[in-house]
Each structure stands twice: as C-alpha cells, then as structure tokens.
Amino acid sequence: MFKSWLRTSTVAAAFLLAPLPVFAQDAPKQGGDIVITYKDDIATLDPAIGYDWVNWSMIKSLFSRLMDYKPGTTELVPSLAETFEVAPDGLTYTFKLRKGVKFTNGREIVASDVKYSIERAVDPKTQGPGAGFFGAIKGFDDLSGGKATTLEGIETPDDATVVFHLSRPDATFLHVLAVNFASVVPKEAVEAAAGDFGKKPVGSGTFVLKDWTVGQSLTFERNPDYFVKDMPHIDKFTVEVGQEPLVALLRLQKGEVDIAGDGIPPAKFLEIKNSPEGAEIIVDGQQLHTGYITLNTKVKPFDDVKVRQAVNMAINKERITRILNGRATPANQPLPPLMPGYDKAFTGYAYDVEKAKALLAEAGHADGFETVLYSTNTDPQPRIAQAIQQDLAAIGIKAEVRALAQANVIAAGGTEGEAPMIWSGGMAWIADFPDPSNFYGPILGCSGAVQGGWNWSWYCNEALDKRAVAADSMSDPAKAAERQAAWGKIFTDIMADAPWVPVTNERRVVAKSPRMGGDGDIYVDPTRVINYDAIFVKE
C-alpha cells in the first residue's frame, strides 16, 4: 500500500510559468543582455564544491536537479524528475526522470548520471562541503569513510528511474535533492576537465557558461534546449567581479550595470531610497536570515541561564535596526519569519534594562563583569558590535570588542571555552533549504557543539535533540503541518534557555536598474538569492 504523490511535468511547468506574484504588473518578456557586478571573485562553479552565496545562484542556473523551488518562493516542485513516489515508511524514494532532457554537450541525461553526481558530491576525494546532506542515504558511511566507491542506497533499474534507499527517515530529503550539491553533472565532462570542472562546468540548467576571464568577468548565455519553454527570459548575463559595491551602485545609476549583486552599501541606501527613482531601483526582500549573538554556555558567567536572559533583555534591537537604516527587523526567536515553523505569537524577551540588571544581581553579578564580544571585521559588523557593547555597558557588562577576519571568528567560535560572545553578522548564511531543521543541528544541536563546530553557544540539550530527531522522522507529507509545529516549539523552547540573543532579521537589499522587470522576490529569492531564470528586461 503506497501512498503516492504524482505530479506530471505539465503541472510542474505550469508552476514555473504561473504568473509571478501580484506586484509584477509586466508580463515576463523574452530577450535582453544584462550586467551584474560582485566584489569577490567567483570561486568555483562546480556544484559539488561551490558553497557561497554568490556562486550558489549561478550554479542553480547552470545545472538542474531532481527537485527545485518555484521561483521566489520556498515551495518544492519536481524539476528534472517528472514524478516521484515516497514509500509510507519514508525510507524509499522513487523518481521518474523527465524524458529527452540533454546536457549542454548534447548527451541525454540518464538515471546513472544522477547516481554518479550524488556519489561524486559525497566522495571525500571531491573535497565537497555538502557531503553531509546525503547522510541518510544507505551506504553513506562506507563511501565517506573510504570503504566503498559507490552509494549502495541509489539504484537505477532503468535509464529513467532512480530509487533512493534511506537508512533512516529524513523529512528534509526532497529539499536535499534540491540543494546545489545534488546537481546532475555529466561524468565525461568532469573527467575531461581534469580537476578543473569548476571553471569548465557542463550542466543542463537554464544557462551555459560561455566565457570566463579570471578576475574580471563571466558570460552566461541561455540554454536554448532548456526543458521548460520560455525559460529563462534573458538571453545573456555578464558577471563583472572585483567591483566595490559603492562603485557598482554609481555605475548602476549611470545605466552601466543592471544588478548590483552585493546590494546597497549603508551609505547609499538612504540617499537612493529617498531619491525619485529609488522605488524602482531598490529591491528589498526577506531572506532566511537571523542575526544573533551566541552566549557561550560553557564560559562563565554565561553558564548561568539568568545571565543569558539578562543579556537578552539588555539589547536594544530597535536601535540596531536604526543603525542598519531600517533594513532589518528586530528578531525574538532563532527562526526567521519566512521559515516554516516560525511562531508569530511568540514575543521572546522584551528590551528592559531594569529587569536585566535585576536578573544580573540575582545571578550574583550586581556589579557586572568583563567579557569579550567577537565580530567579523567588515562594515557594518564592527559598528553593530559597538552598539551591542554600549547596550551591555548599560547593565554593567564590560565587553571588549574583537573584530577579526571571518576565518578567525569561526575558528574562535569552534574552540571550546574561547569566545564568550559572538555577533554572527557578516557570516551571512542563507539557509541551505527552507526547512526549520536547517536552523537546528549544526548551530543549536549537540552535534554542532564540538571542536570546530558551528554551535558557538556550545548549547546541548539532549531532550530537544530527541524532539528534533522525532520531528525529522515525520516524513509523511500529510504530517507536514504537525512537523512544522513541532519544530516551531523546539525553537521557542530553546529561548527559555537563551543560548542566543536573536537580534535582527535582515532583509536583503539588491539594487537593479529600472529596466529590469519582475517581482522583488526573484531578486531576493529565498532559495537562490538572484533567480537568473525568472528575471527579465522590461523594454
């Protein structure tokens, strides 16, 4: 008795082509060349390796995966898969591939390509960061431990069918098949590139990489054979790198640039926002982001929950959003509002200096104490750290600010007993996929509270860990709402222990030239930042 989910390709196509949300008044138009700028070089376009927010969206467009998201939303839809079935025990997933889809080298995609691609992402030799996502697939431990060269949990009974056998139920598995690391790549091209696949990518996505001048620019052209008609909309986009955000913005105002990928520097934000063309240029969207301060539960006096609660009450989040020129909203729980499971009714700790002082006194620190606050050293993070520092001073906590390069902060956070407080800003992580579990394990769960881990609060609550495992076992799609609620409760319960001070939910601000069309959500797509497939040129 299989409870099955069937979706035809026509339904999927209808999703992709559905009229974009209400704000977009103009219908997508085909054609047009655009220019996009970034400050940093594009590191790699290898989907098994690339893992920063700039190459993330480019890799999304160069390759296709079994699953994907409806542009501008967090809704999963089949992509390279035509249909799929989930066994009731949640341990077997069967995918039927879309027929006739070709790599841009002309070869048709078959089931063994899917198997190869995921094995490649898990294989330690690839040095890919995303191996762990596939941990639920049978045989994962053998492959990542070097005891096998393939994943026994992936079967390809015929060229059009892929079957995944899991070793444990994983409610996020469909999301996992939509992350970049699950992108399908042709083995022959990987081998031909001889270790340089990241610079010579071949996929089956909406775009093809035509030219890459290292340190200067990349040119992407539309894939004329892409399997969804009229996708993408633009013919070509050129990415210029090495451009200071401020300079990029000045060029955008002159019409030389269409999208300033790094967003609007704080200095220019108000000027542009208050200018006549401001509304047309600024795209301001929510992202799956929470800025927080970690309070190290293994460092005195933050081992005392009262001290952590007091700090939660001491931070003037309104003022911090003002320093960010209103580009963020105060946060009260770890999950961002856009994430399923966010509890709208939860109020968290209100800003209350007197109560904070009282709590500190109760904890035996009436005169405050001295501590250290880490932050990254790129603007505006040191400034926000200083605002936090001033708030802490108001309840008697003298915090020394240490603004360091990101790598040093990460290293300090992952070393036991090293960093009492860390302001997370600047280590801008987009959630890998829009599921609340992605905000727990590595950053709040016991598994992350290890040497070199990302749980910088070193918070480990066994009871919550058990509830997390239980929630992730609810892989029956019918129980989605129940699972969401379970996750939501986990995050609000965490706040009773206050290992974090959730500070802000930053919105992402992108600048686009007035000729660029489409709703804001495709420029600040929650799953891929800029959705190159869906953007279009108006005239």
Binding site: P245, L246, P265, P266, A267, K268, L270, E271, R319, R322, I323, L324, N325, G326, N377, T378, D379, P380, P382, R383, A385, Q386, A387, Q389, Q390, E400, V401, R402, A403, L404, A405, N408
Partner: protein, 282 residues
C-alpha cells in the same frame, strides 16, 4: 638649541613644527577639550533614519555612523595614532639601529647572517606581511604598533649598515682599535654617536609612514580594535559614506595628511641640519 633655531628660520619646517606641537597638545588635552565622550553613541547623534549628522553648532565636525561626535573621536584618535607612530617607529628604529650596527661592525658569520636576514625581510611584500601578522596576532593598539615596527625596521637597518661600514673603515676607528680599545668602547663611544642624527631623522620621517600604514591597516579592517578611535579606523568605519557624508572621510583624511606632512617637513629639516651630506634624498 642650534637645531631648533635653524628650524625656526625655515618657513616649511616652522610650519611642520607648529602643527606637530599642536597635534601633540590637542592629543594630550583631549579629555579637557573634547566636547563629548568619544565612545558615546548619542540618540540625537543620528537622524531618525539612522544617518550621521553634518557639522553643526551642536556637533562641530558632525557625527559618525553610530551617532558619536566626530571632533571628540578625532581628538582621542590623535592619541592612538601618535602612540602608534611613536612606539612603532621607536621600536623600528631601535631594531634597525641594532641590527644595522651589528651587521656593519661584526664581520664574519654573525654580521653576514644578520645582513642576509635583512635582505630576506626586504624581499617580503611589506603590506602582505603586515596583513598576515595582524591576522595572526589579533589586533590591539600595541599589536598594531609591533606589526608596523616589524615591517618598518628593515630600511633603517639597511641605511645604518651602510653608514657603519663607512665608519669602520675611517682612520679614527682604526686608530682606536690599534690602541687596543674594546668593541664596546668603539661601538658606544665612536660609532653610535655618529649614527644618532640618522636615527633622529628616521625617527621623525618614519612617524609619517607609520601613521599612514596604521590608516591603511584600518582601511583593510585589521587596525586598532573598536571602539578605541584611531584616525585610520574613523575613516574605515565610514569609507562608504564619502559621498553621503563626506565630512566623515575627508576631515580625518585631511588631519592624517596634515600630520604626516608636518612630520615629514620636520624630519626633512632635521636631516638638512644634522646631516648635510644627505640633503634632499628622499
């Protein structure tokens, strides 16, 4: 006194001297004359949208992006920048003097090794070395000063080496030596005094370089830690505001320029007075 009087006679040197004196006095008197605390983030120091305020009667040089008084930060920043200038440069000149003299005076293995080491350090891309060291050592005021010193001593060592070599060959040293004078006596009584002018000149000129290097390190985000103001990090925190709030970049920029210029002018005049043979060489 002779030095001072001859400096006062040159308009450029006089100008430099006056500015340097002024900066030092203002830095020392910062707590007395600063209108606000340099670290106080004032609620009325920002617009409601969070923008810094331009110069006004309340805030003479405007406020920065956290609502702090720029004038107060510049005054206190002078302390930081001067301390770094003096300490970093003092250490650099001392190391350079020591290694330069030793390698110039001591022939053989030690002298050679020291000089090869100096050559090695000269081959290092200075800014890269400073960046890596700053990342390694976690910047604080003293660490920044040490990093700058570690990068800057090399030139001094080179020059001192050359001068020492010249001195060692001179008749009076040879004479002293033939009379049986010890190394210590020759070094301290005959060689060192001749090098003092060089040290003083470099000690002054180097301050300009140091102040600029501190600003550059701050510009790259690896300077003195906030909220301690230094001229460099005042600019760093507001660099993107050069259009929206030009006072935040160009006023501190002008202050750095003026100070570096003055130290350069004073150093140059000192060189002319103390060491006429080196006149004019940059």
């Amino acid at each position: 006194m002779r030095v001072l009087t001859s400096m006062v006679r040159q308009p450029a040197a006089l100008f430099g001297l006056v500015v340097v004196a002024l900066v030092v006095i203002l830095a020392l008197a910062a707590p007395l004359i600063a209108p606000y605390s340099p670290d106080e983030q004032m609620f009325d120091g920002l617009t409601l949208e969070g923008a810094p305020l331009p110069p006004s009667a309340q805030f003479l040089l405007g406020t920065d992006t956290l609502g702090r008084d720029l004038l107060s930060r510049l005054l206190y920043g002078a302390r930081t920048s001067l301390v770094i200038g003096l300490v970093a440069n003092g250490v650099a000149v001392s190391i350079g003097l020591m290694i330069g003299i030793l390698s110039g005076y001591m022939r053989g293995l030690v002298g050679n090794a020291l000089m090869r080491f100096t050559d090695l350090m000269m081959a290092f891309p200075a800014l890269l070395l400073a960046i890596v060291l700053a990342a390694l050592l976690r910047p604080s005021l003293w660490i920044v000063a040490m990093v700058i010193a570690l990068v800057n001593w090399v030139q001094v060592a080179r020059i001192v080496y050359t001068e020492t070599r010249g001195l060692v060959e001179r008749d009076f040293i040879l004479a002293e030596r033939s009379l049986g004078a010890g190394h210590g006596r020759i070094l301290f009584h005959h060689i060192l005094p001749h090098l003092i002018p060089t040290a003083i000149v470099w000690g002054t000129l180097g301050i300009a370089t140091t102040v600029l290097l501190e600003a550059t390190l701050s510009f790259l985000g690896i300077g003195v830690q906030p909220p301690t103001p230094s001229w460099g990090n005042i600019i760093f925190e507001s660099q993107s505001y050069f259009q929206a709030a030009p006072w935040l970049v160009f006023i501190p920029g002008a202050v750095i320029l003026l100070t570096a210029l003055s130290f350069n002018l004073v150093g140059d005049a000192l060189r002319d007075i103390l060491d006429p043979t080196q006149r004019g060489r940059g």
